[in-house]
């Protein structure tokens, strides 16, 4: 974005007069290539190029927000002009815009699209030749100019593959869902290859998940989805009253449990160097030694310590909200065999399709596509799709102190929607055991 930051700060100056006022301009340039894959062929190619700008002014509990298409000087002026008019300030004079000078990188589109498509074709051809996938390669460049703060900009490149494939199984052909979300890199494609090969491995015929209460091992890093729902969302600073809010620094889980939200983990899908208000993120302890930790804040909800760098927006047309980024759970010392032995009888889950939480009550649901029954510490039947459900506090209390040794990134966690805004999120977790979870088969 070819912005004259000093001019923008001058335009914002009349809006930032009081202590605590917040006046800023946010711009985004987005390039996205989406490819619809069917059985080894690209059936449709879509390219998106968008630019947008918004301006925001907040004083106390009152906020004015204006967003426009485009990210050149004219767009910035239009957004600030609308803001100043709605705030009752002298309007910004209308002046002819300088021509925008697109960056070289922006002009080139998504540089890795063709190369990635070739590599993906080879990976799919080998491990999942019959499939229906959507690949999204997204690059965003974001810039924030705010009064009283240094200008910040950040670029992110994301790789996101979602869909289904036909697996050849001992029980015959079966449809399996698959999702993989990672920051774009050559290593991500190597990781995808391994993940897809694992997902396509032959399995026995599944029997329905028995309804009732069950002890469960959440394996393969998928526990990150649980903590994203039951800790991340309730501790977002604008979340309203939740069971956790009523218990600041109270013990809610075993002392071995450490959960942080770490946006600095750029190897995970939700990572970033600056949030969408220009703040450098810092890790936030959600549960520290089993005690309820801190909230995830943006500038509008920051205590004296300032924003934790979790002010995020889905795009320039939306104001920032305090949102989680990457939920990371610290590992323990238990190996997988010992986990199974400790579980005894129960179910083993290594994949979630999605989840939700109701903040006020703390009740949550997680959908899983498959599971394994564990009997006397050994894998038994393959189980079909189901739903895990529970309440936040009893579930935290029911986590066993034995945490898995290896902390794995969970690539099935990708896009999180709240209040109509979708942002990338990620997570990593060790295997863990939770007792007495509600389980029932999915339709």
């Amino acid at each position: 974005m070819n912005w004259d930051d000093d001019s923008i700060l001058r335009w914002l100056e009349p809006l930032g007069g009081r202590e605590g006022d917040l006046a800023e301009v946010f711009g985004e340039t987005l390039t996205e290539t989406s490819l619809e894959w069917r059985d080894g062929e690209i059936r449709e190619a879509r390219v998106r190029r968008e630019q947008g700008t918004s301006a925001r002014w907040r004083r106390g509990r009152s906020e004015q927000f204006a967003s426009v298409a485009g990210a050149d000087e004219a767009a910035v002026r239009e957004a600030v002009r609308a803001l100043r008019a709605s705030a009752g300030r002298e309007p910004l004079p209308i002046r002819a815009a300088r021509g925008a000078t697109p960056d070289a990188e922006t002009e080139a589109g998504f540089p890795a699209a063709e190369r990635t498509a070739r590599r993906l074709a080879a990976i799919l051809g080998r491990h999942a030749p019959r499939h229906a996938f959507t690949l999204r390669l997204r690059q965003t460049e974001r810039r924030v100019v705010a009064t009283g703060r240094p200008t910040a900009s950040a670029t992110r490149r994301l790789f996101s593959l979602e869909g289904r494939f036909t697996a050849v199984s001992r029980a015959g052909d079966e449809q399996r869902l698959f999702a993989f979300h990672a920051p774009m890199s050559d290593e991500a494609l190597d990781e995808l290859k391994t993940a897809l090969a694992d997902a396509a491995a032959p399995r026995d015929r599944a029997v329905p998940v028995p309804a009732g209460e069950a002890d469960a091992i959440l394996a393969g890093g998928c526990a990150a989805v649980l903590f994203h729902e039951i800790l991340g969302h309730p501790l977002e600073a604008d979340a309203g009253v939740s069971p956790l809010r009523a218990l600041p620094e109270a013990r809610v889980a075993v002392a071995d449990l450490e959960v942080i939200d770490d946006a600095r983990r750029l190897d995970l899908f939700g990572g970033y160097e600056r949030d969408d208000e220009g703040t450098v993120p810092r890790p936030v302890k959600l549960v520290a030694s089993g005690l309820v930790g801190s909230q995830l804040t943006d500038r509008a909800h920051a205590p004296a310590a300032g924003s934790t760098g979790h002010g995020r927006r889905s795009g320039p047309a939306e104001p920032p909200l305090p949102r989680g980024a990457n939920v990371v759970v610290s590992g323990g010392a238990t190996d997988p065999e010992e986990m199974l032995r400790r579980l005894g009888n129960g179910i083993w889950i290594d994949e979630f399709l999605g989840g939700s939480v109701e903040i006020a009550s703390g009740s949550f649901r997680l959908r899983f596509p498959r599971a394994r029954r564990v009997r006397r510490g050994r894998f038994a039947d393959e189980l079909g799709p189901g739903v895990l459900a529970g309440e936040l506090l009893p579930t935290l209390e029911a986590i066993e102190p034995a945490l898995g040794r290896e902390v794995r990134a969970y690539r099935g966690l990708g896009w999180c929607a709240r209040a109509g805004q979708v942002v990338p999120v990620g997570g990593a977790a060790p295997d863990l055991i939770i007792r007495r979870l509600g389980v029932r088969p999915e339709l």
Partner: protein, 416 residues
Amino acid sequence: MTGDDLGALLARRSPGHWELYRKTAETREIDASPALERAAWRREAGWAARWWEAGAPRFAAASDADGLALALPEAARLTVAAGEPPAWPAKKKSLDGAAAVEPPPALFEDLLRAVAAASRGEAVLAGLTLRRGRAEERIVNAAGLDVAQEHRVFDGVARCVARRPGRAREVRLPFRWESAPETETLARRLADAATLPLSDRPTPFSSGQWLLDPAVGAALLAAIAPLFLDGKPPRWVVREKLAGPAVSIVDDASRDAAFDGEGVASRRMLLVEHGTLAGRLHDLSSARRTGATSTGHGVRPSFRLPPQLGPRRLFFETASPSSSAALLAGVTKGLFASALTAPLRVDLPADRYEAEFTGVSIVGGRAQGPVAGARARGRVSELLRRIAGLSTDLQFFPAPFLAGSPTVYVERASFD
């Protein structure tokens, strides 16, 4: 770069097989809660092109014409499987001048009071977002189509929290108002959805009649909408006996917009007539594949996506409506589903559905008491055939397309 320049670019790339779409929109929004009062103004602009190059479909979208001109060659560079272009419509219609967008009214305090009254003080409005907006669309194509139209919207989302000692429930309801605000209806809906689950009372019946609030009926209709789209219907679909004889299902978006997202005229489509499957919806692509003609159901949820087949304003209709009171009086033993407590799940190929809801138990046509949570499940085919009555209180809900339903009477369902 202008629209004409882009049209010329597309014509060079794909003679005879291109389409150019432009949208400009303006919205005003008020977001109110005890912690925040936000006024937002948005101006959106979007361009999109669809064309067939080297025998394969391509799509590009951008926030301005220059961006779209850059995106065209990028989308053309990728190797894509061949596909046939549709038969493009040709029509001309310009747009008259349109009025500016007024800000939505400040209704938070009114709704706060109405929710408190409807819930007898148990529920509190936690937030209200109201949005008014207008969008202008123009679509041109290689066959000479050049149509423009305007849409207006007045919608929002309300959040409400109800508490009793040791229990809490939060609900979030999206809504759309056709004209004037319907604050009382929204308040009642919020109050019921938030307070009924707190009753702690399970369903007293394992089977019985099932009365669906219009919001639940609309969710059911939205879930079965794929039956009316492209592709082979599931094996269980018997054309003459899809639903009870009282049921007709219609899609008619002509009051919302003169054209669909591909420039085909909107029209009333009778999909189910007195229980018999009577028609299906088509966009240009499905029409080409099946040898049918487009019914005007090429939907653009955003300029960022190519048009896709979908319902636009789908609703239940009946030749012999009853009043809601008459339907209630017909329930000898059953449940009234006031609100869903989880998204309604439907597996159409497997002929299965599952609805988790909160509501009220009814005996002899009289409400007996709240039911915190119940689940109805079974075969979609049986559920549709057991719809024996529809009321006169048709209401529309964003699903995200508009789905409309009155109170629905199902003569038998199983609950747990």
